[in-house]
Amino acid sequence: MGNTTTTTGGGFTSPTPFGSPYQSPGKKSSNQTYRHVTIKQLVNATQMNSDSPFVVDKTDIFQVAIVCRITKVTINSSNTLYIVDDGTGSIEARQYTDNSENEMGNEFIEGMYVKVVGHLKAFQGKKSVNVNRIISVDSVDELTHHFLQVIYTHNALTKPSIKKETKEPQGSVYSKNNTSFASDMNPIQAKIAEILQDNPNTTGTHINDIVYKMRGMDSEGNIREHVDMMMNEGLVYTTIDDDHYGIVSSK
């Protein structure tokens, strides 16, 4: 993972390459987090031995998401087998059902685009996906978003740092760690940025800590407002919960 000093402890620049909520690598995956991948990446994933997790882009995968078109549906007694294709390859996706779900009939049919969230499996060299969730995709925007996430995550995991476009700073003084922010950032926000940057923990900085460190500079209400504004501009993001913040690295 990244070994430059500007990245946070987890070795990733943010926003996180994993689906929200934030998951730091090494933690057990929760139900919610998944990584956006292509079928080609899944087919090429490697595994040290049959008990270890699969690896894509040098990083273990847990839950993954693909966005793909259903090319075939086979309804079996204990599971529904989908063959799906996302333009990069084709794979089997199996959704295990209990009896009650089977009787409802199948809403996902050939020709539909779906998002499949699940785990990669391999049997006798052949890869497949165990489906945890399958959701219909109705808008092309979802394809755009997914594939952009795929590219972003791939970059985040295969390069030491991401070069992010920033405005040319004009005499900005707060480049303590040699990062450059928009030159029109006001001193309050610059201080917030500095506080967040100084914290190497991927868990982020609690808003109360930010407020405390800035006591005397502004009222708590104003400081919280500034943090919100920085969120809206994509400069900071929430980490482990809505009270913890991290800063987007501009390197």
């Binding site: 990069t88 084709s90 794979i91 020709g111 808008s139 594939f147 590219i151």
Partner: protein
């Protein structure tokens, strides 16, 4: 599983895929039973030769098809999508989609 690549392309890349199978996303501008004009996300006008009993509806679609020449694709399959995509000419969604397609070209190991 037969791993055939059916890449997502923009209309200006069709020349690189003659005889191959590609995915084109856009809006159907006109349609008969046998043929449709697809305005792609990158604002190309491509003739789609529809198959018998094609499920292609007017609106936003993805055409999976064989490239006959730089201006013509023969439909093999179609997927219909919500109509919220590049309809008014100033919608950024189509632009972003076509840029995504362009960027994905650089990541052959992923796409």
């Amino acid at each position: 599983m037969n791993q055939q690549s059916t890449p997502r392309v923009n209309s200006n890349q069709l020349g690189n895929h003659i005889g191959g199978i590609v995915r084109l996303v856009g809006t159907i501008r006109s349609k008969t039973d046998s043929q449709a004009i697809l305005e792609t996300a990158d604002k190309g006008q491509i003739s789609i030769l529809l198959q018998q009993g094609s499920e292609c509806k007017p609106g936003v679609v993805e055409i999976l098809g064989k490239v006959e020449n730089v201006g013509t694709v023969r439909e093999m399959a179609v997927s219909n999508f919500n109509p919220d995509f590049g309809n008014n000419g100033i919608d950024p969604d189509a632009e972003i989609y076509s840029e995504m397609v362009q960027v994905s070209e650089k990541y052959k190991e992923v796409f």
